[in-house]
């Protein structure tokens, strides 16, 4: 991937996330009234395709976004280069994707 | 002594307007040739072309013609210019400005309708000067520098030329000896053609405007090589250099001409205007007249505390001044002075050197293989350079040199071998201070600057210049016994200060002697004992030549190849001036 594509991917994923983050914060503020409970969260999300899509795209975007971001930081601050750098970045992306999608599945599956 | 040896086809010394243009043109005229550019500083970041403020003279303005530009140049030079050179300067400036705009990428200020904006410097009969605000030189040199950096030109930065080395029989130039300033080592470069474009620079005066790297090295080398130098008495002073004390490099730097043009007042120590005592135009008179006015006032003990006079702009409204002269006001503010609202001390300051190596209009010299262009070459300006003709001269003739060298090397089959005796003599000369007891070179420089300022400065007399010759000789003798600690030669500025001083002393002596030889007052050269301009038809220029330790100055008659004094080449119907009276 060229630097330009990485840059664009990071910006576009950020744009995708911007409304999702705001939505997420809004939900949290609403939900937190009266304290959090597993049942409350699950009750709202389980079985909802809408929530699955909401959090699913969030997870995909954030995995791409954070992996590219960390890649830059590893390059600049840790002196990581070449194949190692790309490998680590891909690893981060895969890890976040796997864990994130599993979490989404956990809270939305019935 | 170990010398590194190196060969090239075309070698260029200096990266001002002349050097950079020569590199571009040499590549165009001889694409297969190896072109090397060597410079005392970094490419494009030293020399005076970068410092050009006011602009570039070119006869592209409404109604203006090459003929008119030429006549102004001849009259401004008080009939002393080499007319063929002056003509080519005016004619080719038109091509060069188009080249700068279309090929090099400069953008000069435009009128509202998108055409080039022209203004008139003092001494011009047309709006002729194109410019980029008041930072014209930065635009020109940055654009040229980029072009050169991007091309396959061999670059030798921080290489100081210290000697022109001829062939054994002395008939031609073999190459140039350098000090690689970063390592302190010597390097000899042979070339079929060498352009010297090291830019003169009258920095032997107490107050001076040129950049610190310019110390007359080129003319000193030419002198040692036995080349004839002309008009060496002609030092142009700018009337308003900043005066901020001996200890700061800000002193001497130019406060632009536009300040006087816009109505700035010059005030003496008692805060009175004085310029009308000397000239009906007051502060708006030409550079030489105002410089002499200020100098006279200083001599009458009417000076400001720092020993100069004041320039005062406040009556024009500090806000207006701050807006119109933003750069100048900021520059003064940076050094602690309030130009917009207060008074700033100024003093005449040595600005430009009209004298130089005798060349023809193709930049060729008396020595085969050596070419000279820009401020190092004499002839184009005669006794006085018009504002805006300096950068025109260096860019036009730099380009000419590149073309001519490119064509000439086609007929030169081989590199020429150097006279090894001269080579080692030049190395010994440069190494001399390294074996003497270290002293304070800079104090000698102050001494030289005082001597030249006092005795060979704005106003001159025979007695004064004779005294100057003696003072310079004494300082040179002191210098020869002053050493430099030589434990490390890498980037040893003090060694280079010493070498600078050596060049300045040699050329100072020539200035004084040429000044004595001119027994009249023309342009920048003003003799209190000969205040008249003398017979114009019998105009002569001075030629100085060194053989061994002897310096001779002769007078040569000016050849009026195009126009004679009192005549003009403008059609009769042409008005005297196209510049609207203010």
């Amino acid at each position: 991937m060229t630097e330009l594509r990485l840059y664009m991917a990071q910006r576009l994923s950020a744009l995708v996330m911007a409304p999702l983050v705001l939505g997420h914060i809004a939900v949290m503020i609403y939900a937190i009234q009266g304290g959090l409970s597993a049942a409350e969260i699950l009750g709202r999300t389980q079985g909802s395709v809408l929530w699955a899509l909401f959090y699913g795209s969030f997870v995909i975007a954030v995995s791409v976004h954070a992996a590219i971001g960390l890649r830059t930081i590893l390059y600049e601050w840790a002196g990581m280069r070449g194949g190692v750098l790309n490998g680590v970045a891909l690893g981060i992306c895969a890890l976040l994707l796997a864990m994130g999608l599993q979490a989404v599945y956990a809270v939305t599956a019935t | 002594m170990k010398i590194e040896r190196h060969d090239t086809d075309i070698l260029i010394l200096g990266t001002g307007g002349a050097g950079l243009f020569a590199a571009l043109h040499a590549q165009q005229s001889a694409p297969a040739a190896k072109v090397t550019i060597a410079v005392k500083g970094l490419i494009g970041k030293c020399g005076c072309t970068r410092m050009v403020q006011g602009g570039y003279n070119v006869s592209l303005g409404t109604g203006d013609t090459v003929e008119r530009h030429f006549m102004d140049t001849i009259k401004g030079g008080k009939w002393l210019p080499d007319q063929d050179m002056a003509w080519k300067l005016c004619e080719q400036a038109v091509v060069r400005v188009r080249e700068l705009e279309n090929e090099v990428g400069c953008f000069f200020d435009r009128n509202e309708d998108g055409t080039l904006h022209h203004k008139a410097f003092a001494g011009q009969t047309a709006d002729r000067t194109v410019h980029k605000g008041d930072l014209t030189g930065i635009e020109i040199i940055n654009r040229l520098m980029e072009q050169v950096l991007a091309r396959p030109v061999e670059k030798m930065q921080e290489h100081r030329a210290i000697g022109l080395i001829p062939t054994r029989d002395g008939s031609a130039l073999s190459g140039v000896l350098f000090i690689d300033m970063r390592s302190g080592g010597f390097r000899f470069v042979r070339a079929k053609a060498v352009l010297m474009a090291t830019g003169g620079g009258p920095t032997m005066y107490k107050y001076h405007t040129p950049s610190g790297d310019k110390t007359m090295d080129g003319l000193a080398m030419a002198l040692r090589a036995g080349l004839p130098l002309r008009d060496m008495e002609m030092v142009q002073f700018h009337p308003t250099g900043l005066l901020a004390g001996d200890h700061t490099k800000m002193t001497g730097t130019v406060l632009e001409e536009g300040l006087r043009g816009a109505g700035g007042h010059l005030l003496n120590g008692a805060s009175n205007r004085f310029m009308f005592d000397y000239d009906a135009l007051g502060e708006r008179a030409t550079r030489d007249v105002v410089s002499r006015g200020i100098f006279a006032e200083m001599r009458k003990n009417n000076a400001s505390p720092g020993g100069g006079v004041y320039i005062s702009m406040a009556h024009l409204g500090p806000e207006t001044v701050a807006k119109k002269f933003k750069g100048m006001v900021k520059r003064c503010a940076d050094s602690g002075f309030d130009l917009a609202g207060g008074k700033v001390e100024v003093v005449p300051t040595a600005h430009y050197f009209m004298g130089g190596v005798v060349v023809d209009a193709d930049t060729r010299t008396a020595m085969e293989g050596l070419y000279v262009a820009g401020e190092d070459a004499g002839g184009a300006h005669g006794s006085n350079r018009l504002g805006g003709n300096g950068v025109a001269n260096s860019t036009v003739y730099g380009g000419v040199a590149g073309d001519v060298m490119g064509a000439d090397i086609a007929g030169m089959s081989a590199l020429r071998d150097p006279d090894e005796a001269v080579l080692s003599a030049e190395i010994d000369r440069a190494r001399r201070p390294l074996s003497k007891t270290p002293g304070f070179v800079n104090r000698l420089r102050h001494g030289l600057q005082e001597a030249m300022w006092d005795d060979v400065g704005v106003m001159r007399t025979e007695a004064g210049m004779q005294r100057g010759v003696t003072r310079v000789a004494d300082i040179k003798a002191d210098l020869m016994e002053t050493g430099v600690a030589g434990d490390t030669l890498a980037f040893n500025l003090t060694w280079h200060d010493w070498l600078n001083m050596a060049s300045l002393c040699d050329v100072s002596a020539v200035i004084a002697k040429a000044g004595i030889a001119r027994e009249n007052s023309r342009g920048a050269h003003f003799r209190e004992d000969f205040p008249q301009e003398g017979d114009l038809d019998g105009s002569y220029y001075t030629v100085a030549r060194q053989t061994g330790d002897d310096l001779t100055v002769t007078r040569e008659p000016v050849q009026f190849t195009i126009v004679r004094p009192g005549e003009t080449i403008l059609p009769e119907s042409e008005p005297e001036t196209l510049v609207a009276a203010e």
Partner: protein, 113 residues
């Protein structure tokens, strides 16, 4: 760290954005891991969520939301700067980003009490 050439608002905006990005990236796996208990062990998720009753955890939460808000607005500021025609109001935008994010997370925090 904060050397003299860095002492200006835009550099601080940069470093805040970067640190918040790193912190968020570190927090994210933890967050996913906790949520994934929803499926196999909801009671453990509850266990985690009860921690949120402790003030310390609340402060940490506040921190997280703050980081996210700061990062989002910082990111939006950057994208505005890079993609929308340049406006000289950089510094104001940077300040506004911090201000607004404080506001949002502050609300969140207050309502949680």
């Amino acid at each position: 760290m904060i050397r003299p050439h860095r002492t200006h608002p835009l550099w601080f905006a940069f470093i805040v954005h970067r640190i918040s990005g790193i912190a968020l990236a570190l927090f994210l796996p933890l967050h996913f891991w906790i949520l994934s208990y929803a499926l196999n062990a909801p009671e453990r998720l509850d266990g985690f969520l009860h921690w949120t009753d402790y003030p310390l955890v609340k402060v940490a939460e506040f921190g997280l939301v703050f980081l996210l808000a700061v990062h989002v607005f910082g990111g939006l500021r950057l994208m505005a700067l890079e993609w929308l025609p340049w406006s000289a109001n950089q510094k104001t935008l940077a300040a506004a980003a911090v201000g607004v994010s404080l506001l949002i997370s502050g609300t969140f925090f207050l309502r949680a009490l």
